[in-house]
């Protein structure tokens, strides 16, 4: 049994070299599909990252009536923090608000002795999901003791729009990519199998079991899948780093607004996913195509 395993594995490896054109065509197909997949994943990761960064910066600020006790403020903070759409809620005292503001004023702030922002203590509320901003504001309007709610509706709406577009485009692209991949791969396999049909036939006539016929093809498929997925991953890794460096040096002004996801954070998911998809395509592609010809 061990002998059979190594023999069929050896045949699988030999098949890769025996059918050079088929190997090249399959490799090119799988690599091309996974290359596009990789680019797409990298873009989605970065867009999501940028959206998330911006989203985290969007806050709702709540000011209180002058007669409100610190106890009530703590109570409100507690209530707000418990809400599911709230990611973080910070209390900013009047002193902290002045300290922050005076930093911006620089020298101009030096004339003040008393805190001119007395009574400006507030809650800074950050959301998990900016599309829920309206909901939160609706709730805050019902809470007693609140004087004023500052919100950034435009930013919130824009971000919600961007996220929706990213989601639709993601789903659309994945669907399209899947359809194209299946078409290309089934085409390649069909061309390959017409060459192999005879070989499978001969094997069956000589008395080879289904396993014996199938194993080399499946090994071959797995090997092609592995190589075919490794190539785009390696190429994309270098391309990604190059693009990263290019954007940072040539579009330095963007660095203040946008941060990119480091390659390692993308490839820790992309590499195993690509390998899995490649091996999966190789395995199932060969497994099912051979099956059609086994009943001889």
């Amino acid at each position: 049994m061990i002998n059979t395993f190594f023999y069929t594995l050896g045949q699988g490896v030999k098949n890769v070299f025996r059918n050079k054109w088929f190997t090249m065509a399959s490799l090119a197909t799988i690599s091309a599909c996974l290359f596009v997949f990789g680019i797409f994943v990298a873009v989605v990761f970065n867009v999501n990252h940028i959206v998330k960064t911006v989203e985290e910066g969007v806050s709702v600020t709540v000011y209180f009536n002058e007669d409100v006790e610190q106890e009530r403020i703590d109570q409100i903070r507690e209530l707000v923090t418990r809400r599911p759409e709230v990611y973080r809620c910070d209390f900013i005292s009047a002193d902290e608000a002045w300290a922050e503001f005076s930093k911006k004023l620089g020298e101009n702030a030096e004339g003040f002795i008393e805190n001119p922002l007395e009574g400006s203590e507030n809650l800074q509320i950050y959301l998990n999901d900016v599309s829920k901003q309206g909901e939160l504001v609706g709730y805050l309007e019902t809470v007693e003791g609140i004087r004023k709610i500052n919100k950034s509706e435009l930013t919130a709406n824009t971000l919600t729009g961007v996220k929706a577009v990213v989601t639709y485009v993601s789903v659309g692209m994945i669907g399209l990519l899947l359809a194209v991949s299946i078409f290309l791969i089934s085409n390649t396999v069909t061309i390959g199998i017409s060459v192999r049909k005879e070989e499978i036939n001969i094997m069956k006539y000589v008395g080879a079991t289904d396993f014996f016929v199938r194993a080399p093809f499946v090994f071959e498929g797995i090997i092609i899948g592995l190589i075919g997925s490794a190539i785009p991953v390696v190429v994309l890794y270098y391309l990604y780093n190059a693009a990263f460096a290019f954007l940072q040096s040539n579009f330095a002004f963007l660095n203040d607004f946008i941060s990119y996801v480091p390659a390692s954070d993308v490839f820790i998911y992309l590499a195993p996913a690509s390998l899995l998809i490649g091996v999966g395509i190789g395995f199932f592609g060969s497994f099912f195509t051979v099956r059609k010809h086994l009943h001889v």
Binding site: I202, K204, Y205, V206, G207, A208, T209, F212, V296
Partner: protein, 251 residues
Amino acid sequence: MAEQEKEKKKKSRKGGKDDSKYVIYLEGVNKAYSDANGVPALMDINLKIKRGEFVFIVGDSGSGKSTLIKLLLRELTADSGKVVVNDQDLTKMKHAQVAKFRRTLGVVFQDFRLLKDRNVYDNVAFAQRIVLKSEKEIRKNVPNMLSMVGLAGKYKAKPKQLSGGEQQRVALARALVNKPTILLADEPTGNLDPRNTNDIMKLLEKVNENGTTVVVVTHNRDIVNTMQKRVITLKQGVILSDEEKGAYIDD
């Protein structure tokens, strides 16, 4: 004679049937193709071939010869009737058992069906690997077989470097290397010139003398008429005649 009696008793005890002295036994076999509008390819075929026989099956195209071979190989199953080959009932055989069954047969085709990307040695060794022979045995058996068919010197050649006759010898070596009890040859000389045809037929005769049952499907009148073997003639799906030392029957 006593030896044969014993053999017969042993077999009948094992199988419990009196058809076990036949390596091929067909009884009331019918076969029609679904895409032929129910026109039968074979009708009520009864056929018995004993161990060690040499049999020609002849007939025009469309007579049912190919269908018959396919039934014997279990490439097709009969619609009704009984097909027993090497004591195995093919009508009841499951797909998973077919591979093992085929190892008891050797098959040769008109178009040789060699693996084109492998050399002569590997083509023959292939059959041995399938039955899980060790490399040591393979290294002993394959050269033996190749010298038997007269190709010992060409073990490294690829099929396309060989003549038709040589390719058929390779196919024959592959069919015989696992020592089958039956050799089925489907038009083995169909693509060969008269000289190669003669050589292949001589080889088949030699194989038969060594105890293998040989069934040759052919429409080569000359070899049938000169070899004076049992001849079964098929016509439009029925057995027209079945004669010991028969001859090719013309329409």
